[in-house]
Each structure stands twice: as structure tokens, then as C-alpha cells.
Amino acid sequence: MLTLLKFEARPEPSRVAGWISPLLAAGATLIVGFVLFTAMGKNPWVAFHAFFVKPVATLYGVGELLLKATPLMLIAVGLAAGYRANVWNIGAEGQLTMGAIFGGGVALALQESTSPLLLPLMLVMGVAGGVLWAAIPAFLRTRFNANEILTSLMLVYVATLTLSLLVHGAWRDPEGFNFPQSKMFGDAAMIPILLPETRLNLALPLALAVVALGWLFMRKSLWGFRMRVAGLAPAAANYAGISAKRTVWTGLLIGGACAGLAGVTEVAGPLGQLLPSVSPGYGFAAIIVAFVGRLHPVGIVFASLLMSLLYLGGESAQINLALPSAVTGLFQGTLLFFLLAADVFINYRLRVKRPRAGGIPA
């Protein structure tokens, strides 16, 4: 008789598996990476070193790691609030872009300002931009039952093209030799540097504070509790009088606010101006970060650091080993795949089963 491996639901999620699963994923990734790099004719140990050690070997490298992790954790914690409630905001990239346009627009309009209130105003406007952009799918979903996955995603393209229109047109720097970019922001519009000799700025503590707020909201507030109920058991939410519309609005607006904030901290931080593209895809990568972090704020902090390391490691491997970018992308994807796949063991266990021959119960 054949033996089969079968996944069997655990009565309770396993805490042990919760800790072991990332290690399992790391192990599996190293094995695949070993084969992959060897097949490419590279020394796998050198490749691993280039990926995971070299990027953070210097203080500047650590600064870059934290700098890139900042928008990721910010966006991911906002998305997680929605995902917990089954509100699938896929359009954080667009909300980030709108945040950058709103916040950056303030900086450009008040270019000569030296007021200490300029930066806070930009942050508020950035949040407002993200909220506004997320409000569209929320309205369409609650009013017309339009799927927010599609609407939020489509609005990404509207947002990035709007930004492109602005920096190619009205907001283009007249002294910029026709490059599609805005003027540089004034000093008062820039987020202060946190660590000298690096580009790391005060957005990091701000993001950590938002993560803490996110934890407080999801874990300690009645509202957050009700969002989780709506995600786990919609019928129970309806039974308890939890408004489905309010859940959708909350989930999308929190995601939009966080993404908008991330957008303005990017342009008021490392970029210092508006460009046709203000994000290397943070809004999409944050979706992965949210899930690798198991939709938990603490997990999201770690996942954003990992994701950031993969960004830097990919560049470092391309430069140091002359690996094609497709290969570094493949390796990054492998790790994320194993991380998410290994989480299956938290709720399921493997059983060896002997199949019964034929027969369906009548």
C-alpha cells in the first residue's frame, strides 16, 4: 500500500512550531541557495557573505538597513490592521505616492519657509494624502460593494502617473536641465538625521512609535478587537453588532495613513525632492513584510529588517559577484516563500497516512 504525507489540522496553534518555522525556512533557503549559487559557478559561502554580512559590515550599512526598514514597517503595520479584518488593501504603493505628493507639495509651496512647523505640517498632509487615496476604495466597497483588492491596486497607477505628471510639468524644477524632478526641499522641510555619517533619520523612531500604537490598537482596544473578530468570523461580527462598513473604513484608512506617512518621510528624508518614482516598491514589499511578520507588530519589525537586508544584499551581490539581478530576485523570493510556507506548521502537522482504497461515504 502507498503511504502518503498528509497535513492534519492541529487542535491548537503550536508555539514551538512558531519559533521553529523561521529556522526551518532559513535552513531550506540556505540549501536552495547553495545549489543555486554553485550552479551559477559562484562560491556559495562568498555569495551568502555578500548577501547577509557585507551590507551591514559598516555603520553606514547599518544606517541604510534601518533607513529602508522604516517605510516597510510603517506601511506593513498599517496594512496588518486591515488584513486582520479581511480588508485587502493592495494599494499601499499608491497611498504612499499620494502622501509624497501632498507632503512634498507643501514643501515646494513653502520652499522659503524656515518655520519649525513646516515639517509637522508636511507629515500631517502626507497622512491626509494617504487617507484620501485609501478612502476611495473604502467608499467604493461600502457603497457599491466594489472589490477593494482591484480598486486599491488600480489606484496605484493613477497615483504614480499623477506624480509623474506633476514632476514632468507644473512642479518641475525650472533650473533642473529639463530633468523630471522637483526643486530640492528647504532645510526646514527635511527630517533631521539621527545617526551622523549615515542617512538614517528621525523617521525610524517615528515608525517605531506607530508600530507601538498599532500594537496598542489591535491588541488592547475594543475597536481593534472588533476588527479581528470581523476578520476571523464575519457572521459573529454581524451577530455582535460590529458594523462591516466601519471595519472596511477603519482597515483601509489606517493602511492609507501609514502608507501616506511613509511617502512623506521618504521625500523629506533620503530623497529630499519629488521624483517620478519615490519608492522602489515599498508599498508592495510591505504586503510581504506584513505576512512574514504574521500580521503582528513585533513580527513586522523583524520582517521589515529582513526585507531591508534582502534589498541591500541583492545590490551587494550584484556588485560584488556580478550576479544578474534576476538571480538575486530569485534568491530573495526563495527565502520569503519558505518563510511563509513554513508557517503552515504552526496550524498543521504532517502525518503519515495510509490511504484507504476507494469508496466515498454515501
Binding site: A240, A357, P361, A362
Partner: protein, 515 residues
């Protein structure tokens, strides 16, 4: 003498943490109607699944007509001549009766002439059935007929019936018993699973009683009393609720001319429903499931608000358009018929599930959850209602149906409601817990709460209600005092007899449950 049709010896089956069957032995003779009696969770279903080849026993032997056999799967069981009618039907709604039956038969029997054979068998056993009808147009009682005919077409020598009467009107139960007696007279053995003592005494020749997975007695139920059977089944006497005369006060829940179109194709349209529940009384609504109970309950609870606010009033306030939360704020409590996924979130702890509806009981301060107060509330509910759980941290889905039901009922009662609506409050709950829940409802009534109970169990309704109505095809009958009616009258009403012909019917099913 012929060997026993089925002999089980020392059957044992355990699941992680639970022993479902321990050293169970039992013998069924040809033509015998053999009851397997036990509370929920006593191991009846596991035993039947072992006989039907769905579950493999850890130990013990099975002999079929004197020869030892291994029943590896249901197909093997069917070839031996075992047929089973499950408690939950496995029919495809979009197919016809004949198509559904053909799917379950061996290919050589499913060919042409099947419709004829269905007609023959159904006529012979008094189970009228049209082979060309689509299942979705049929009532629950008719669907059960399909399941029975499906088994009979396989010429079974042993028919297993798993709680077959829970979906039938009293008249339909009588018809079913006639069919079963005729089958037995022809030599077919019947294993009849139930926890309803009266039925077993009326129908069965022999009974095997299970408690906590073990056989606690064998008897001839015709010679036993209900209380002696109950003692074997629960190891003690059946508790009887104290029932005092109702002191009904002001109208607390009033439904005025509620009509509501069905919101899905297989739903029921509510037509001109009128109902008043006064403080300090229990009003019951009987009926075969699928006759508008779900729709009425959703409208009452606010899970599906109705367009005209004034059609539903709680304590005088028009609430038709309010959602469930706003109605709860008026001290309205509700125990829904589905526990997991509606009355409770399966993945969440009991503490979180207490918070789900009881957050107005001081469990929240400034929008933040008071974890200690939540745990205290959950712990108090667990101990006050004898919920068997490891504690407030136990996930709702880890509890048995009856225990979770006790927790939900307790959670709702402890919110000191003004109006309480309970749907199937003791469905699937063991006898002891059911009595406890009924007593809790009666105590609540005596404290001046207006209570509406929707149930399919007539015994239960007669036991606790002061007034009774019947719902059929989305219409509600006149509400009568329980003293002025009896089970037979209610049974007639359940088949829709009170609906005057000629009035337009919003219901999609034919008259319900009349086997």
C-alpha cells in the same frame, strides 16, 4: 438459530485526549430494531462510523452474520449490506432525486430503470417520492426520505439511522416508525441512534446504553421507564425544571406585521408576522427548520435590519432599522442557533468571546479592554454554568457543542437582558446541560425578562413555554397558551394547516415535513 446479523466485540477507539469507545460490545439480531442510546459525546456516532467503515477501530472485532470481517471503507460496508442515514444529509441541492440516488449506487445498479425502482420502493414503504424533483425544492422531511430510499435500494440487511427524528414533525415521526417497523418485519435489522427516550421506548426491541464511551447497560426499552433509561444514560435522575405560573407584565418585544422578502434563493419570505412577548413570560415558536426561523431571528436580532423601523419594537422603541449592537444597547440578548462562527469566534479564547457581546458590562474603559475584568466575567460564566473548559484561555472551538452553548447562554444571561431571544437553546446539548439551560431560562423569566424561544423540539417548548406559536412557510400561527393546545395540534400547524389556501405564499418549499 441464525447467527446475529452484527456482532461487535471489545471495540475501542481513541482520539488524541479522548476515548470515544472503550471495550464496546453489542449484538444485533435479524429483524431487530436496536437502539443505541447515549448523551451527546457518549460515543454513539463514532461507533456507527466504525460499523459503516468511515472510522477504523483501534481494537476489537466485528462479525457479520457470524463471520469476522474488516470494514475498511463505506463501499465495503455497503457491499455487506449496511446502509446508513446520516443526521446531516449529503445531497446535492441542484440535482434531482434520481440523480442523487444514482451517485451513491454501484454503477451496475444506477442504470436505466432507476426511476421506476425508486417509485416502487417508495410506494412499498410509504415514502412518496418523485424521482424527477430537484432536491432544493424539497423540505427536510422529504430529503430524509431520499436518504432512506437511497439506502433501501441497496437491499440493506442493516440500516443505521442517526438521530432521524430531529428534523420531523410528530406526525412525520409516526410515519417513519411505521416504515421502520415494516422493514424490521421483513428481516432488516435497524440500529437506531437517539437520545430521545420516548421514541426508543415506542420503537425499539432492544437498547444498548453508552456513557462516556462505555456500555453501561443492555435492556428491553419497552419494559423500562424513561427515568430508568435516563439513569443508565446519564448516571442519575433526569432533572425536572421548576415551572411556576408566569407573571406576565408589559409587552417588551412586539413584532407588528413584519413582511420581509427572502434574501437568498433558498430562503423563506416572511409574511405578515405578528408577535408580542411580555415581560416575565416565555413564548415559544415551533416549526420544522427552514420555514422562516432564520429570517425571523435575523430580523429580530438586527443582523438583518428591516426597512420599516416600527415593525419591531423593544420596550416600546422602534428598532427595526437598528443593527445588532444598537439593539443590544437596549438590553436585548440573543443566543443564535449556530454556535461556532456566529455565537462565538472559534479561534478566540472564551475570554475574548465573552468580550464579543458583553463589553458593556464594564469590560472596557476609555475604549481599551480591561483584560482582568474580561477574564473575571469569563471565569464567572464558566463556573456559574458548569462549562467544562480548561479556563478563560481555552479556544471556543476546543469546547464540545454543549459546553460552548452553556457558555454562550450564560454570557447572554449575565448581561441582565430585558428581552432574550434563544434559538435552539439545547440543540445537540446533553440531557443534563439541557435541563440546566432550560432552568436558567425559567429563572430569567421569573426575574421579569421577556423570552422568545425558537426550537424544533416540541417537548422542550411544552416544558418551558407559557405561550406557543408555530412558524410555517414564513407565516406565524396564532399564539396559544400551552394549556390550550397539545403536541398533536402543534404538529398539524407545523405542516402549514393554518395557512388559508389562496393567500399568496412566499415560500419556495412544498408543505414542510409531511412524510
Amino acid at each position: 438459530m441464525a447467527p446475529p446479523r452484527l456482532q461487535l466485540h471489545g471495540i475501542t477507539k481513541s482520539y488524541p485526549g479522548v476515548v470515544a469507545n472503550s471495550d464496546v460490545s453489542l449484538e444485533v439480531l435479524p429483524g431487530e430494531i436496536h437502539a443505541v442510546l447515549g448523551e451527546n459525546g457518549a460515543g454513539k456516532s463514532t461507533l456507527m462510523k466504525i460499523i459503516y467503515g468511515v472510522v477504523k477501530p483501534d481494537g476489537g472485532t466485528i462479525a457479520w452474520e457470524g463471520r469476522p470481517v474488516t470494514i475498511a471503507n463505506p463501499a465495503r460496508a455497503r457491499r455487506l449490506g449496511v446502509g446508513m442515514v446520516f443526521q446531516h444529509f449529503s445531497l446535492f441541492e441542484t440535482l434531482t432525486v434520481a440523480e442523487n440516488i444514482a451517485l451513491a449506487l454501484e454503477p451496475d445498479r444506477a442504470g436505466p430503470g432507476l426511476s421506476e425502482r425508486i417509485r416502487d420502493v417508495s410506494a412499498k414503504y410509504g415514502l412518496p417520492l418523485d424521482p424527477e424533483r430537484h432536491v432544493h425544492t424539497m423540505s427536510v422531511g422529504e430529503r430524509q426520505r431520499v436518504e432512506i430510499v437511497r439506502c433501501l435500494l441497496q437491499d440493506p440487511k442493516l440500516l443505521i439511522m442517526d438521530e432521524p427524528t430531529s428534523v420531523l414533525t410528530p406526525q412525520a415521526v409516526d410515519k417513519l416508525f411505521e416504515t421502520l417497523r415494516r422493514l424490521a418485519a421483513e428481516g432488516c435489522s435497524i440500529l437506531y441512534i437517539s437520545h430521545k427516550l420516548d421514541e426508543i421506548r415506542a420503537l425499539c426491541h432492544k437498547a444498548t446504553v453508552l456513557r462516556a464511551g462505555r456500555v453501561t447497560g443492555d435492556c428491553d426499552p419497552r419494559r423500562e421507564s424513561s427515568s430508568s433509561l435516563a439513569r443508565m444514560m446519564i448516571g442519575g435522575d433526569l432533572p425536572h425544571p421548576r415551572h411556576r405560573e408566569a407573571q406576565a407584565g408589559d409587552a417588551a418585544l412586539v413584532v407588528t406585521d413584519l413582511s420581509l422578502p427572502a434574501d437568498d434563493p433558498f430562503g423563506t419570505t416572511l409574511t405578515h408576522v405578528n408577535l408580542t412577548v411580555r415581560a416575565g413570560e416565555i413564548v415559544g415558536i415551533a416549526g420544522v427548520s427552514g420555514n422562516g426561523q432564520q429570517e425571523l431571528l435575523a430580523a429580530l436580532s438586527g443582523e438583518r435590519p428591516v426597512p420599516d423601523a416600527a415593525t419591531i419594537r423593544i420596550a416600546g422603541k422602534a428598532v427595526g432599522r437598528l443593527d445588532a449592537g444598537a439593539r443590544r444597547a437596549l438590553r436585548f440578548a440573543f443566543v443564535p442557533e449556530d454556535r461556532l462562527g456566529r455565537g462565538a469566534v472559534p479561534e478566540m479564547s472564551l475570554a475574548d468571546n465573552a468580550l464579543l457581546t458583553a463589553y458593556r458590562e464594564g469590560l472596557v474603559a476609555h475604549g481599551f479592554i480591561r483584560a482582568d475584568a474580561v477574564r473575571e466575567f469569563a471565569e464567572a460564566t464558566i463556573s456559574a454554568y458548569g462549562v467544562k473548559a480548561s479556563g478563560p484561555d481555552a479556544a471556543a472551538r476546543s469546547l464540545s457543542g454543549g459546553n460552548l452553548q452553556k457558555f454562550i447562554v450564560g454570557r447572554e444571561i449575565r448581561q441582565r437582558p430585558r428581552v432574550m431571544v434563544a434559538a435552539q437553546p439545547t440543540w445537540g446539548v446533553d440531557v443534563g446541560a439541557a435541563a440546566q439551560i432550560r432552568q436558567a431560562l425559567l429563572d430569567l423569566r421569573d426575574a421579569g425578562v421577556a423570552i422568545l424561544v425558537v426550537s424544533e423540539e416540541l417537548d422542550e417548548l411544552f416544558e418551558i413555554c407559557d405561550r406557543l406559536a408555530v412558524i410555517a412557510q414564513g407565516r406565524l400561527s396564532e399564539v396559544k397558551s400551552v394549556r390550550d393546545t397539545n403536541a398533536e395540534d402543534i404538529g398539524m400547524l407545523m405542516s402549514g394547516s393554518f395557512i388559508t389556501p389562496g393567500t399568496e405564499s412566499g415560500h419556495q418549499y412544498s408543505p414542510a415535513g409531511a412524510i
